[in-house]
């Protein structure tokens, strides 16, 4: 599904990714863990197509297509979804309006018909109920005055509606209390399927108790330095990242 080969990225002359290689298969949930500053968020932004990053080398293939040549909205239509660590506020635009505009834009880009309003509302309501999002929240301007937990639930709601094939969760657990973490994780788990892959970026093991990964990658200094099963996360939780820092020094 997603194949990253020898990715080298810099921002303002600072190297962040240093020949990163990563493969995520269809139906797989891959977790990326790593200390602050290892380049985890950069990786998610580069896959989604944020402007500020300069790709010096390497490629990112999504189902064999090079996404580096696409605009962010084309990548979205091709199935890439990024759940932001800090979702943005859009004043004056009701969440419902935003959801409809984005869903229809993606459908249009894929040559599908726009959804009828009743059909759209049905889908939103179903997803909102599962994520315990009250209806009045959907009428409020997107993310404006939302609590941290509400913002993250809104991200997962969008994911559920847009039905992307490749989902990136960028520290979705940050700022969540235990209940919110459970709701968000259940939302994500409900979307797991054989056709969909996830890249879950996190600092902590905690999230991975709820969203159990198939593979765990350790990232350090812009590279994947170790890959293992879900038990690798537990190991990291116990020992920290110290081992990997030493590797670098050596």
């Amino acid at each position: 599904m997603l194949e990253i080969k020898n990715l080298v990225v810099q921002i303002e002359d600072k190297r962040i990714l240093n020949g990163l290689n990563l493969t995520v298969n269809k139906g797989e949930v891959a977790a990326i863990m790593g200390p602050n500053g290892s380049g985890k968020s950069t990786l998610s932004y580069v896959i989604a197509g944020k402007e500020d990053y300069e790709v010096l080398d390497g490629e990112i293939l999504l189902n064999g297509e090079n996404v580096l040549e696409m605009e962010p909205d084309q990548r979205a239509a091709a199935g890439v979804f990024l759940a932001f660590q800090y979702p943005l506020e859009i004043p004056g635009v009701a969440s419902m309006t935003f959801l409809k505009a984005t869903l229809n834009a993606q459908r249009k880009a894929r040559g599908e018909d726009e959804l009828t309003t009743p059909d759209f509302i049905k889908r939103v309501n179903a997803a909102a109920t599962q994520l315990e999002i009250p209806k009045d929240m959907l009428k409020r301007a997107l993310n404006v005055g939302f609590s941290g937990g509400e913002k993250k639930r809104m991200e997962i709601l969008q994911m559920a509606l847009l039905q992307p094939s490749f989902c990136i969760l960028d520290e979705t657990d940050s700022g969540l209390d235990i209940d919110a973490l459970r709701i968000v994780s259940e939302g994500v788990n409900a979307l797991r399927s054989a056709d969909r892959a996830f890249l879950v970026i996190t600092h902590y093991q905690r999230l991975l108790n709820h969203i159990v990964p198939d593979t765990v990658h350790v990232m350090h200094a812009g590279r994947i330095v170790k890959t293992g099963g879900k038990e690798l996360a537990l190991e990291l939780e116990a020992n920290g990242y110290a081992d990997y820092r030493e590797t670098e020094a050596a």
Binding site: G49, E51, I90, G92, A105, L162
Partner: protein, 490 residues
Amino acid sequence: MPAVQETIDQVRLIDVDQYKYGFETEVEMEKSPRGLSEDVIRFISAKKGEPEWMLQWRLDAYKRWLTMKEPAWARVSYDKIDYNDIYYYAAPKKNPAPKSLDEVDPEILRTYEKLGIPLREQEILAGVEPQRRVAVDAVFDSVSVATTFKEELAKAGVIFMPISEAIREYPDLVKQYLGSVVPVTDNFFATLNSAVFTDGSFVYVPPGVRCPMELSTYFRINEKNTGQFERTLIIADKGSYVSYLEGCTAPKRDENQLHAAVVELVALDDAEIKYSTVQNWYPGDAEGRGGIYNFVTKRGDCRGKNSVITWTQVETGSAITWKYPSCILRGDNSRGEFYSIAVSNGMQQVDSGTKMIHLGKNTTSRIISKGIAAGRSENTYRGLVSAHRKATGARNFTNCDSLLIGNQCGAHTVPYIESKNATAVFEHEATTSKISEDQMFYCQQRGLSEEEATALIVNGFVKDVLQQLPMEFAVEAQKLISISLEGSVG
């Protein structure tokens, strides 16, 4: 003390050539001699078949104008206008005063068709049924070429006709109110207009009548080197209500053209006037060549107690806009409202706002202004709120927000607040913000193109004001804003 907020940044090239109404109509025109003189004024007055008093009024204005200086306080700059290089009158040669649509030059009818302005009543009546009907006065350069639904409105007692016709048919009403809100001596452009105005609309709504449909005037500048000097006068008698909308477009040309209008509104006791403008004059090209100079004086007088005047404007066109639709709150408990969206792109310059002058007791006013600057444009809000000594209990709420797109445009807010009595309560809020790259990226990540994302964010920004427009125009205005901002990102 005026608070000045400023944001000016550097250069970014954009394309503003999105103007969709820039075509020309080939019609043979009759024009006054070029330039301005007493003879030209006599020529205009004679063409309109005016009574002697009207001609005298014009000539007095002209004499006064000769002694006046062009104002220079606005934050706009342009080359000196040569007032003797302009044609002050241009009318279709074939039948300049048609009695019915059948007599109107088909070329002109096609023009309005192309602009999407319905002039044939039957067609409007035959349209999809719940559609609200709108009576239209169509002004083409210096003359009104058609006015629809006149008879039906007359049944309700509403007078809706070109002002040149009203001067002949209702001289007493015109004499009583013309220049009573914007005096002949008011300002350079208003005085010029008083001398040379050619056409515009006249509305009178009798006591207790709720005007049965929306009224609107559609202004079209077509002829080269011609100024348009429209004059509109709306009187809402006691307890009446009227909603009026004006729209404007012009062909694309390399030279600048002057549009100096005067609009006067009078609301008597318990009357209400809603005046909406969708201004889309040609804004000039990306380098700032051509475009309309829109130097306009609009003022409403809440003359009676409990009267209400609401100005709503969506300004997307013109190379330069100099315009301050205002309310004189004379009647006790009267209310003035100003809702504005001013969009500037390319090299456009906007200096616009309002004046709320509280004279009566317990008068209230509300100002919501949304300025959006893109490209290399400059967008200034300039507003005055004042309370007279006797205006006890006066209240105002002002909210001025500016949104910047890109980093080469400027947004400025210049509020003046004067209170001469201690019971007045004035509130002022202002913000300046920018569409952030992160917001754009977020929207694009969800599948919106750059332009769709900008339009969505901007529409969120102007929502409070769009809600004030009549439904069908709000949709139009929303589209217009998106079109004006095309090419402003990337």
